[in-house]
């Protein structure tokens, strides 16, 4: 479970002061925090571990590593359910 999964940064936005990106992993798009990779920008490939980009990688490395993880059945963390943001409830 220490393996990080490479994906491509499609877009980035701010959520409550955190830099969040939409990252594409094969056919799946999930969010990841870019707070630990300030150098990462849209179009870059990042290694993502449990929702956090921990390093940038080049496209070739990303492609190869993704295929290997897929063969090793190590992409299951991407299958975890998406938790939708709900508006904060105002105190009554």
């Amino acid at each position: 479970m220490c393996l990080a999964i490479p994906g491509k940064v499609l877009e980035e936005f701010d959520r409550g002061g955190m830099r969040i990106a939409k990252v594409q992993f094969g056919g799946i798009v999930r969010e990841a925090s870019l707070d630990y990779t300030p150098q990462a920008k849209v179009g870059d490939y990042v290694l993502v571990h449990v929702g956090f980009a921990i390093s940038t990688v080049n496209a070739e490395e990303a492609e190869r590593t993704y295929q290997l993880l897929e063969e090793m059945d190590q992409l299951t963390e991407l299958d975890a359910p998406v938790v939708d943001e709900v508006p904060t409830r105002k105190p009554q």
């Binding site: 479970m1 220490c2 393996l3 990080a4 409550g16 955190m18 999930r30 969010e31 990841a32 925090s33 707070d35 630990y36 990779t37 300030p38 290694l47 571990h49 449990v50 929702g51 956090f52 921990i54 390093s55 990688v57 070739e60 490395e61 492609e63 190869r64 590593t65 295929q67 290997l68 063969e71 090793m72 059945d73 190590q74 299951t76 963390e77 991407l78 299958d79 975890a80 359910p81 998406v82 938790v83 939708d84 943001e85 709900v86 904060t88 409830r89």
Partner: protein, 379 residues
């Protein structure tokens, strides 16, 4: 698909293996530390491609495996309480504790949720202000920045209904522990690539120097593992012992500085029990005092639970590189991934589970059947 071939090019692999054979003058025992590396080695049969006398033994670097039974029992005790939403990475749900696993508890009605990121707990907390959200923060250094960020954000946002049950392990103290054992066989290490992506490799240098053991920080692709082995054998044959970085395309000596900084501000080093191994000094994290409001152990008053592992299980010796899965009489018989008896079988990255997944328990059964046939033939 040009790039796919680059790191598993059979000709390149063969040339590395030939080079190892050329320089090798005696047997060497090398431990790969990380469970992801173990999985890759067994899947690709790398240990069987290496020249005779180069033995790979499998280290303790599977965080799910080494999460102590006591902490699984604590998770179980907290998750069963009313008004608790217990969140975890999916890998932990099927690990059996003394009173069953979290998956069964969930099927009995407990609100247990698998999350992709620890930060999902903040969203769940905002949507459920009348519930307490507890996150089971397991992992090695690779996962610590994500878990630390949950505590940091919860504190910053004043999310009083979020806490974390910390069960973090650190790699370098476990290597020191292995090297200090009187039964130690390990002469060189393939260091953990993704752990060092966060931590860098400065802290491995004093270990290499003190115990005169080569440590080569290595990736987990087949050619990475072969190159890491070659670099380790080169050092061993030359009588050198330093830290080298095979995985330099991903990491450098300093690691990920912003991540390390946040981890150090949230966690402090503490003693930690490892499943199958026991207590290792200064080998884990606990929350700093400033984060005590988010410490689930403190909030839920879960007592220290004393647990015992089945006597037949040799996972402690496997994690230290003293034995291999097929040395265990229960391997593949009473102990399988569906009915695990100990640490190295509870997760796919454990050595026993990896051996089982790739059919190595059948080798043992075939060898025993053939030995019996021979005995029968002789009689």
């Amino acid at each position: 698909m040009k790039y796919l071939d680059e790191y598993r090019n059979p000709r390149l692999a063969q040339s590395i293996i030939s080079e190892i054979r050329r320089i090798q003058t005696r047997p060497w025992v090398i431990m790969e530390v990380c469970g992801g590396q173990t999985h890759s080695i067994v899947k690709h049969g790398i240990d069987r491609l290496l020249p005779e006398g180069i033995e790979l033994v499998h280290g303790p670097g599977c965080p799910v495996c080494v999460t102590p039974l006591e902490n699984i029992d604590k998770a179980h005790a907290i998750a069963g309480q009313p008004n608790v939403i217990f969140c975890s990475f999916g890998d932990m749900l099927r690990v059996p504790g003394s009173n069953g696993d979290l998956f069964t508890l969930k099927s009995q009605g407990a609100d247990i949720r698998v999350v992709y990121s620890p930060l999902d707990c903040l969203k769940i907390a905002r949507a459920n202000p009348d519930k307490h959200i507890v996150f089971f923060a397991i992992g090695f250094e690779t996962t610590a920045p994500a878990n630390a960020m949950l505590a940091f954000r919860a504190e910053q946002e004043g999310a009083h209904n979020v806490s974390i049950l910390v069960s973090h392990s650190l790699v370098p103290p476990s290597m020191t522990y292995i090297l200090q054992s009187p039964q130690n066989r390990v002469q060189g290490f393939l260091g953990p690539g993704h752990v060092c992506t966060i931590m860098g490799y400065r802290e491995y240098e004093p270990i290499s120097e003190r115990y005169k053991v080569p440590i080569v920080i290595t990736g987990f692709e087949p050619l990475d593992l072969l190159q890491g082995t070659l670099m380790t054998v080169r050092q061993l044959e030359a009588g050198r012992a330093t830290v080298e970085n095979q995985y330099s395309r991903i990491l450098d000596r300093e690691g990920n500085v912003p991540a390390r900084k946040l981890v150090n501000s949230v966690f402090e080093v503490s003693d930690r029990k490892w499943r199958g191994v026991g207590w290792i000094p200064k080998s884990g994290y606990k929350l700093r005092w400033e984060y005590r409001e988010h410490d689930a152990e403190r909030l839920f008053h879960v007592k220290e639970i004393d647990t015992k592992e089945p006597a037949v299980c040799i996972s402690g010796q496997i994690l230290k590189g003293i034995k291999k899965p097929h040395d265990c009489p229960a391997f593949g018989i009473q102990c399988t991934p569906l009915t695990p008896l100990g640490a190295t079988m509870v997760s796919a990255e454990g050595a026993c589970a990896a051996y089982y997944a790739y059919g190595r328990h059948l080798d043992k059964q075939r060898a025993e059947a053939s030995a019996q046939a021979q005995v029968g033939g002789a009689a």
